[in-house]
Amino acid sequence: MKMVTVIIQPKRLDSVREGLSEIGVTGITATEVKGFGRQKGHTELYRGAEFVVEFLPKVKLEIAITDERVEQVIETIIACCKVNGGAIGDGKIFVSSLEQVIRIRTGESGPDAV
């Protein structure tokens, strides 16, 4: 099993969720995060003083998935997030390995629990 972690623009959340639902992903955990990357932050103003907000609001999605579906999940995410040829800040996908997954309610574990 793998954990696919992806950082996206907040405005893409709905379309990614729908895209993943359509391909049968049944579990997603989303977190509000702040991202520091190539996309530079914006300038704000406070009582006449400018300052740069370095961290931009992003959403992190974590999707635990069986190995064979990783490819499909990644493609779906890219399809939903790369709009109009892609723009800076579209996000990044990280894949790592999961040793165990357990559904608390039933005690199921392994791929069944995903």
């Binding site: 509000e32 914006h42 300038t43 704000e44 406070y46 609001p57």
Partner: protein, 404 residues
Amino acid sequence: MENQLFELQYAIDTFYFLVMGALVMWMAAGFSMLEAGLVRSKNTAEILTKNIGLFAIACTMYMLYGYDLMYGGGVLLNGISGEGETYSNASDFYFQVVFVATAMSIVSGAVAERMKLFTFFLFAVIFTVFIYPLEGSWTWGGQEVFGLFDLADYGFYDFAGSGIVHMAGASAALAGVLVLGPRKGKYDKKGNSKPMLGANLPLATLGTFILWMGWFGFNGGSVLAMASKESADAVAMVFVNTNAAAAGGVIAALLLAKTWFGKADLTMALNGALAGLVAITAGPDTPSALAATLIGSVGGIIVVFSIVILDRKLKIDDPVGAISVHGVVGLWGLLAVPLTNSDVGFAGQLIGAATIFVWVFGASLALWFALKAIMGIRVSANEEDSGVDISECGMEAYPEFVTK
């Protein structure tokens, strides 16, 4: 002795005007909080800036020329330094100037979350120096409409401004919304309306209570006199009816929401209160308290239907419901007057309403289009995505709170 009596009467009426005016001024805070609570957090600082800015502009422009145009008070108020006949002229100006700000406040909510701030401010300049005062000169000012006809001849009656102030503001707002279009993402490809939640309902509720309180000044002050038994009774009855109508609006809107949607929708309760207030404003002097409650209740029912229809059927995107509350219900307010005031007829009310609407809507539409051509009316799609707080004001309203 005579003279001393007169001085006291003069003092009472002036004092009354000033207190009522201060209550109306307070409505500016009410609109600010209401609107700030009903927009999304990323557009909150901008709407606050808009509200304090428009209030300042309205006060200044009306002083420079608007008051003169509407009531002949003299350019730059040069006529007000002298004493008035039964109260201080300055107190009359003070009371009137906060009305023009109210009319302008109605616009700001409807065009929220997507309009360029300085385009809005420029509109405010013209609206408060010209569009509103000219309309006001035909109604409260007693002038003929473009020298053609006199609304008084048709018996048009609008006690405190359901039409003259509220529907006028809503007409300008409607024109703005039509030129501006809905917020990005408000309607999906199939045309379904997507709710965009107000970020801070306690603030919106506070705003509603402030407006409710301020409305006692708005309607109560419109009796224009206090210092006699007759006028004291009139002012007191206006207070009672204003309160009764607001209460009726809340109850009706809540019950309708509960029946229709299954839940006691707070935003509808707030709109219901305001609708009750707008509904009674054209004639708070004649109904009994029970009749006022009913007039307000009908307002509360109308506003719920109107908001849903505008939003879902007509696809008119009005983030705070200003067009429904002040426009649709404002019209109801005008039409409700003949029900309890036998001196007033439906025809006259309709002619008055049409005159106000045609002028304010038409002139505003032209002005919005002109501003669009000259300086643009809408922020860029990207700016709208990140919120106008950053693009227009450079700052966030709640910089520390993590938002969804």
